[in-house]
């Protein structure tokens, strides 16, 4: 034994074990996110437990586990849905208490626009006062039909009325600005013009409002009657149904189809029910746009710094200071950047812009509050070192001989840089950009205080002039995870979706990183061959 220890082999195994643990942790983590994230949209069978006391519980099985401290006992967590009827989403059932377990084939799940899922059996369709039986296929057709109606309602609510409100707000601000000016005939005329416009808009608003009321009335005419597990009947307006499915009747293909449609909804739709259902499209959009603005800001700064360090700086105090600054920018905690962004960008610069250009809407801040521009700029400071380091490596790939060749032909330093060195460094710059994007996609702490919100009323890009609204608040994938997972009023119901959001985020980050690593490896190979 002592001899074995003396050779050191066991210690080597111990160090190997540390690497193994690291590998297992990363593998396990990604596996965990995959399993939890991908499984969310798979339709589970609907089970009906008839308990020994005669009561009935029906729902999708969420998980089964052994009861702690009691041997050989199990309990199952059911997603019972029908939040409006039961007041909770999940219910634990002890297997001891179950008398019978069945999988009724005609059990239906209705996904509603409000109140989450409804589980039950189709009773009929109620039009006015009369209830008549209806088949699932017929109902399916009705749901499709009603979707057109729903879209109309949404259009009126979002676009028509939204546009009117937008113009009204503009008018109000113009009015305030005019009133602040000394009054003369000219301004008086403008004020009158606006007044006319306001009156016109108001009448327009009323017509739209009436239209909306009519649409709603029409929409509510058709109601589905559903018997839920405890035998009660619930009615549900058809246009409130997003989709209806019978999980116990679905084959594998139907389930795959269902899964794909759910996943598509997830990445393309807006969130519902306080972010616990629906999609994450605004978060994806906000993230992408933020990262895009950030890279516009960070790439020039990072490349300039790298060019300075590699091409222009000698070994002097300034270049050493720049190096220390770069390494410190990489090391300063992100929350400090957030604090700086809040104090400097938002309150100092944003506040300044407001008092200069947007004084009519004060004290409501325009740029003096968190927004996508400030968040992006804050992150660009944070990611400068990433670009610098990668660009420097890229610049190294232009060998000395190539430069000397260029100088020998009479090119100036800048011309050499611009025409010879930088083109060769492009893959390096690209690597840096991608890596900085990957970093920005995953960063949350500084965003939390510089402009991310849990639910943004409108995207930072829309059809209103000037189309790009840099002052708007936005949604972000990372913050979405934090917010829904930790701030949501109904965490239990929300968590499965968060896993999927996490999966989307992780896949994005990993894709960016892997492509950067591949690019970098290619660059290194190229560098090595050109150095030969």
């Amino acid at each position: 034994m002592k001899k074995i220890l003396k050779t050191g082999t066991p210690y080597i195994w111990l160090t190997a074990c540390m690497l193994t643990i690291s590998l297992l942790m990363i593998g396990g983590l990604i596996l965990l996110i995959m399993v939890k994230g991908l499984g969310v949209f798979w339709p589970h069978e609907m089970v009906r437990f008839v308990l020994k006391d005669g009561s009935v519980v029906m729902g999708e099985i969420a998980k089964t586990e052994s009861i702690p401290h009691i041997k050989d006992t199990y309990r199952t967590k059911l997603k019972i849905g029908n939040r409006d009827a039961f007041g909770l989403d999940f219910q634990w059932v002890d297997h001891e208490a179950v008398a019978r377990r069945e999988y009724p084939p005609d059990a239906l799940a209705f996904e509603r626009r409000e109140w989450g899922n409804l589980y039950g059996f189709l009773k009929g369709l109620k039009v006015g006062e009369n209830t008549k039986p209806i088949s699932e296929q017929e109902l399916e057709a009705l749901i499709k039909e009603s979707y057109a109606l729903y879209k109309k309602i949404r259009h009126v609510e979002k676009r028509a009325i939204g546009n009117i409100n937008y113009v009204m707000e503009k008018n109000r601000l113009t009015l305030r600005r005019l009133q602040a000016l000394p009054s003369n005939a000219d301004t008086q005329e403008k004020v009158n013009d606006i007044q006319v416009d306001v009156n016109r808009l108001e009448s327009l608003y009323h017509t739209q409002e009436n239209l909306l009321a009519e649409l709603y009335q029409e929409a509510r005419k058709q109601e589905v009657v559903v018997t839920i597990s405890d035998g009660r009947e619930r009615t549900l307006p058809v246009f409130q149904i997003i989709r209806m499915y019978a999980p116990n009747k679905m084959g594998v293909f139907a389930k795959v189809g269902f899964y794909i449609s759910k996943f598509w909804e997830f990445v393309s739709a807006e969130p519902r029910e306080a972010n616990t259902e629906g999609g994450i499209f605004p978060a994806i959009f906000g993230t992408v746009m933020m990262v895009f603005i950030m890279s516009i800001a960070v790439v020039p700064l990072g490349v300039l710094t790298a060019v300075y360090l590699k091409e222009y700086a000698g070994d002097n105090i300034i270049s050493r200071l720049v190096r220390i600054s770069v390494s410190n920018l990489a090391g300063v905690p992100s929350i400090v950047f957030g604090v700086f962004g809040l104090g400097f960008f938002i309150y100092f610069i944003g506040g300044g812009i407001d008092s200069l250009f947007y004084s009519e809407s004060l004290p409501t801040p325009t740029f003096g509050t968190g927004g996508i521009l400030w968040a992006s700029l804050t992150l660009s400071l944070l990611t400068v070192p990433v670009v610098v380091v990668a660009t420097e490596e890229g610049l190294s790939s232009a060998s000395k001989s190539v430069r000397e060749g260029s100088y020998a032909l009479g090119a100036t330093k800048f011309e050499t840089l611009w025409r010879v060195v930088l083109p060769q460094a492009t893959p390096g710059i690209l690597t840096g950009t991608i890596l900085s994007m990957a970093r920005a996609v995953g960063e949350v702490a500084p965003l939390m205080i510089t402009g991310v919100v849990k639910l943004a009323p409108s995207l930072p890009l829309d059809s209103h002039y000037p189309f790009v609204h840099l002052e708007r608040k936005f949604m972000h994938l990372g913050f979405h995870i934090y917010d829904v997972g930790f701030q949501s009023p109904n965490v239990e119901a929300a968590v499965p979706m968060v896993y999927t959001t996490t999966l989307v985020l992780v896949i994005t980050v990993l894709t960016l990183n892997i492509s950067a690593i591949l690019l970098r490896n290619r660059l290194r190979k190229w560098y090595n061959s050109s150095a030969m």
Binding site: M18, T305, G343, L505
Partner: protein
């Protein structure tokens, strides 16, 4: 063809642009620091007078009041005239002679909310209501003061002058306390009780409670004057203070004693405690905002803040204790005026000095002076100004800027005795439910939390990261080197993902299988031994190309099995080691409370985040150890392990050190993981099963709610500055060490 001139110009311009661009990074980091510092700096600045005004009044004044905007002062002349004076030009806006006063003179006044309670020299009490009503006319604010008098009340049957008076009201009751010139203490209380049938019932208690001071308890015959000899023994009452709960009455006496009476039962008030609060006479008493802390001023100018503190030794369970001592005046304290905004107060001394103090921070922020002895002082309602009238009948107005009275280095980092606490403590509690909340802004618990989280993370990450790097650089087979980017990818995982999983997946899991975590290392060792044993018996043909250097892959199934086995045995182990319930066991045997989101979880999650950092940098350093050194060591008969430990590790130690430093910097500043995986409770406790609150997470939680420029806002900037400085130092040290190492390698 471009001209030479133009080309040269372009080249020059580019040169400067690039130089400036390079310098921009320095500018950024400097701006970062300077801006944050500028936001922090005002925290430690003293108050200052922005503007001072004086007005000469016609007669001697006994009371003073001002409106919110400090535009109008209301003065009460001794002879019974209420006058409103504009503080912009000194013009008299309105005069109101008090009709109820008759020919009497005013001897004492108490001000509460919008009422003046006036004691006269013939033992009567006048209540006068004042109000400032605001109206707007074409954008100009007009303040119109109003005065209304109530019917005068005969307070003292003996019609002696009332030397001092105090009055407090609640929704249903009013209590008046007065001390007469001949040393008697009088109480008059009216209470309205609502009976079951909704009929209001008014009850009035009138009592002489002088006997409580002289030690005889409650007077049996309230309306009879006490015997003279008893009076002679009684110390003279100099000042009174009554809280707004109408429960605690404090009486200061000429012999320095402070009496505390409980008058919640108006008919049976009793003495709770009597202490010697000063060697000389107590000359002024005043409550701080919230009526919990009592400021006591004495004849020699001493100012102390007293509070009732829990004390089991006493029968009542409470004892008056001195919790703060402030800078003394050089002469007798004659008046105390509390702020209506915070725990600040003004004190005036007979030599004409007026100090602006803050109780929590125990600092005197400002000293201002009047030319003669002050007659009365008042703090403006928004705490941004002070008014005083002296005996030369001069009215003073000081506009004061005093943005951050509650912060000193001591309140930010030291122990402070807060209201309601038993002893000085480190507390972070930035906001409270009520207006009279005392902000507790000690950063120490947060620094502690940061260190705690970082330490547990480092305990996990340093061995794993460094040893894994050692293995990868020295023993891992060449063909397996692509494992390295996998670990780099681990570094790319967003911390919000780690925090989410740590908080919502790992924390409940660890809580469930905690005993498994304890036995897991044992099983790892067991299974590694087993693996080594197996490895030696695997036929070489089967080992294939990887003779050595594939151990890490070979171990994967063993570690998985070890984890599985420990989880399976978790329940059994809990039964065996922790008598069936580890949480109860921890609590009973070790006295440790188990939180679900605790330092184990955080340490693990932050460790996960910094392992790749430590791994990558130390692997680089170890990889750069010259091969010649390794050959030399091997040629000298050292085993590969000896070579690794005695040559590679020491040679690469600067790199490993900087890796650890950089990992440390990252752990210190980690925000999301700490935010999501701990309970964020700012407690100071090394217990690994507790949560904590770290500086970074604290900023993220509180700064969205902190009004810009406020004390909390600046304190959070200070927290950011601490983080900045820490990481700056750590990074600079790491970078310097790394540069040094580079130079040393070039020598090898």
């Amino acid at each position: 063809m471009k001209s030479i001139k133009r080309r040269r110009f372009t080249d020059k311009a580019a040169h400067w642009v690039i130089k400036l661009g390079g310098a921009a990074v320095i500018v950024v980091i400097l701006a970062l620091f300077i801006f944050i510092f500028l936001e922090v700096y005002p925290l430690l600045k003293d108050a200052r007078v922005i503007d001072k005004k004086t007005f000469l009044l016609s007669e001697s004044v006994i009371a003073l009041k001002t409106d919110d905007q400090q535009e109008i002062a209301c003065v009460l002349y001794k002879k019974g005239l209420v006058e409103f004076i504009s503080l912009t030009d000194g013009a008299v806006i309105k005069k109101h002679p008090l009709s109820g006063l008759g020919n009497a003179l005013i001897t004492s006044v108490d001000m509460a909310d919008n009422h003046l309670f006036i004691g006269t020299d013939d033992g009567r009490l006048l209540t006068v209501a004042l109000s400032f009503s605001e109206s707007f006319d074409q954008g100009v604010r007009i303040i119109s003061p109003e005065v209304s008098e109530e019917e005068p009340l005969c307070f003292d049957d003996q019609k002696k002058p009332l030397k001092s008076i105090i009055c407090k009201k609640s929704d249903s009751a009013r209590v008046l306390i007065a001390s007469s010139e001949d040393g008697r203490l009088l109480l008059r209380a009216t209470e309205e009780t609502t009976s079951l049938f909704g009929r209001g019932e008014k009850k009035e208690v009138v009592q002489d409670i002088t006997g409580l001071i002289s030690g005889a308890g409650r007077n049996d015959a309230p309306h009879l004057s006490p015997p003279d000899e008893r009076l002679a023994m009684t110390p003279a009452v100099t000042s009174l203070a009554l809280d707004h709960f109408l429960e605690n009455l404090y009486v200061g006496a000429s012999n320095g004693e402070l009496f505390h009476f409980n008058i919640s039962d108006k008919e049976n008030p009793y003495l709770v405690e009597k202490i010697k609060a000063s060697d000389t006479a107590i000359t002024a008493l005043g409550f701080l905002l919230g009526d919990v802390s009592l400021v006591v001023g004495d004849q020699r100018g001493g100012i102390n803040v007293w509070m009732r503190v829990r004390d089991e030794a006493l029968a009542s369970g409470w004892a008056l204790k001195r919790i703060h001592t402030l800078k003394s005046h050089n002469a007798a304290v004659i008046a105390i005026a509390p702020s209506f905004r915070d725990k600040g107060f003004l004190t005036a001394a007979s030599d004409g000095t007026i100090n602006l103090n803050h109780a929590t921070s125990e600092q005197t922020l400002l000293t201002i002076t009047t030319t003669a002895k002050p007659a009365t002082i008042v703090f403006s309602p928004k705490a941004n100004g002070a008014l005083a009238v002296d005996e030369n009948n001069t009215l003073y107005l000081w506009h004061i800027s005093n943005p951050h009275p509650e912060t000193t280095l001591k309140t930010l980092f030291g122990r402070v005795w807060y209201e309601g606490y038993e002893k000085p403590e480190f507390v972070w509690q930035s906001t409270g439910g009520t207006d009279d909340f005392e902000p507790k802004l000690s950063l120490t618990p947060l620094i502690f939390g940061t260190i705690k989280g970082t330490m547990y993370a480092m305990l996990f990450a340093v061995p794993v990261g460094v040893l894994a790097a050692l293995y990868t650089s020295q023993f891992l087979h060449k063909t397996l080197k692509p494992i390295k980017p996998v670990i780099e990818i681990m570094a790319a995982l967003p911390s919000v993902v780690l925090g989410f999983l740590a908080g919502l997946w790992l924390a409940p899991l660890i809580e469930k299988i905690f005993p498994a975590i304890i036995i897991f290392p044992l099983f790892i060792l067991l299974f590694i031994s087993f693996a080594i044993f197996l490895w030696n018996y695997i036929p070489p043909a089967f080992k294939g190309r990887y003779k050595h250097g594939a151990e890490a892959l070979f171990l994967i199934p063993f570690i998985i099995i070890a984890a599985y086995v420990s989880i399976q045995l978790s329940g059994y182990c809990e039964h065996l080691l922790f008598s069936d319930d580890y949480r109860r066991w921890l609590n009973d045997i070790l006295g440790l409370r188990y939180d679900q989101r605790n330092a184990v979880v955080v340490g693990f999650a932050i460790g996960f985040a910094i392992i790749p950092l430590i791994f990558t940098i130390s692997e680089d350093a170890m990889n750069n150890v010259p091969k010649s050194l390794i050959s030399a060591s091997l040629a000298l008969g050292a085993t590969p392990w000896q070579t690794a430990m005695r040559v590679v590790l020491p040679t690469a130690s600067p790199g490993v050190f900087s890796a650890i430093m950089i990992g440390f910097g990252r752990a210190v500043g980690e925000t999301m993981i700490v935010l999501m995986a701990t309970g964020n409770t700012p407690i100071m406790d090394w217990n690994i099963f507790n949560g904590f609150r770290a500086l970074a997470a604290n900023i993220a939680v509180e700064i969205p709610e902190a009004p810009m420029g406020g004390t909390l806002y600046r304190t959070l900037f200070l927290a950011a500055m601490l983080l900045f400085i820490t990481t700056f130092l750590v990074n600079t040290v790491a970078e310097t060490v790394r540069q040094k190492m580079k130079r040393r390698y070039s020598k090898l």
